[in-house]
């Protein structure tokens, strides 16, 4: 019986394929059981469509609009200001600073300046090739690698957890 009802509901809703639609129409026409069930479901369908909607309280719209107004009033200034304005101000100051720097550097004449840097006698610069080949550097790089792997793992776990939420 359920299979017949399922077919008939699909027929009533118009959700079955055209060929199936035709087949069911023929069954309704010739099979008494189908015809009876079809009339029953059709009546039920019409009855379901007469369902009444619930009426919200009179002041519903007013209450929602009041909540929105209150929220807007409580909104911090940072959120209330259009972000484009903030970006515009930031761009203006950045450009001004860059222009000033360009002007300042272009007005400096460094052709006559001679650099003569000598290290004080007591200070010895370390041998760079010595540091790079030492075991200390190797351990330092291994530690860095482990740290990078740990941080990447923590980041991926956090992202996965956020996705699940």
């Amino acid at each position: 019986m359920n299979a017949i009802e399922e077919k008939l509901w699909n027929y009533i809703d118009g959700t079955c394929a055209p060929a199936e639609q035709e087949a069911i129409a023929r069954l309704i026409e010739h099979d008494e059981l189908y015809a009876k069930k079809y009339q029953e479901l059709l009546a039920l369908n019409q009855e379901f469509a007469t369902m009444e909607l619930d009426e919200p309280p009179m002041a519903f719209t007013y209450n929602v609009m009041e909540t929105i107004r209150t929220e807007n009033a409580l909104q911090p200034l940072k959120a209330a200001i259009d972000k484009r304005i903030i970006k515009g101000i930031a761009i203006f100051f950045t450009l001004t600073i860059v222009a000033l720097l360009v002007m300042a550097f272009s007005s400096i004449d460094i052709s006559g300046v001679k650099l003569n840097i000598t290290m004080p006698a007591g200070i010895k610069l370390p041998n760079a090739s010595g540091i790079l080949s030492s075991s200390f550097t190797k351990w330092f790089l291994i530690f860095d690698l482990v740290l990078v792997l740990f941080l990447t793992d923590a980041y991926l776990r956090r992202r996965k957890a956020t996705k699940h939420v």
Binding site: F48, M51, T61
Partner: protein, 193 residues
């Protein structure tokens, strides 16, 4: 009086700063949203809280509405998620079989009242009574299909499930509604006799 502007036009006006346009949108959809909320809350106060929360949430994210689907479909999906969150908060399981037992108890409890006015009760009264006895998911699908002017695809979008699943769920919900309707009517006849 409700506005003659379309939902999209009202949304554009709201985004341009005209708050009364949003009030018009609320007036247009409030009955349906409230009814959907009632399907979950089973109490007017809670339903009002859910419906109000939905409209506030919709207002907050109105700028993210792309217009790819109907506004109503988008709004009903907000109602559904808000109502589900509300139910979770209230620790009411919505779709477990155990709950069916609770509802059966409730319906048996409720079916005995107001027997004096049985003659005055219309078929729609019994229909609404039967819908109230359904599980929230069943009642929501029935309401969306018959009153929300939503296609199976749109209902699927609202509930976040496949259209085929909606088809199956709608069939089962209709069966349950039919059974409850018949049971209630039989009960009333018995009490009359």
């Amino acid at each position: 009086m409700q506005s003659k502007l379309s939902d999209i036009e009202l949304i554009e006006q709201t985004l341009a700063g005209n708050q009364s346009a949003y009030a018009d949108l609320i007036k247009r959809h409030q009955r349906f949203v409230f009814t959907l909320a009632m399907r979950f809350a089973k109490g007017r106060e809670d339903a009002e809280e859910i419906a109000q929360d939905c409209f506030v949430k919709a207002y907050r994210s109105l700028s993210s509405f792309q217009g790819q689907s109907k506004f109503s479909t988008w709004l009903y999906s907000i109602v559904y998620t808000t109502a589900m969150t509300f139910l979770r908060k209230k620790r009411i399981a919505t779709d477990s079989i155990d709950d069916e037992q609770t509802y059966i108890q409730v319906e048996h409890h409720e079916s005995g009242y107001d027997t004096d006015n049985v003659e005055n009760k219309s078929r729609s009264f019994y229909l609404n009574q039967a819908i109230e006895q359904l599980l929230p998911d069943d009642a929501t699908i029935i309401t969306l299909f018959y009153k929300g002017e939503q296609s199976l695809d749109e209902i699927a979008q609202t509930l976040g499930i496949e259209a085929n699943t909606v088809k199956v769920k709608l069939f089962r919900a209709r069966q349950r509604l039919k059974e409850k309707l018949e049971r209630n009517l039989k009960q009333e006849v018995k009490e009359l006799i």
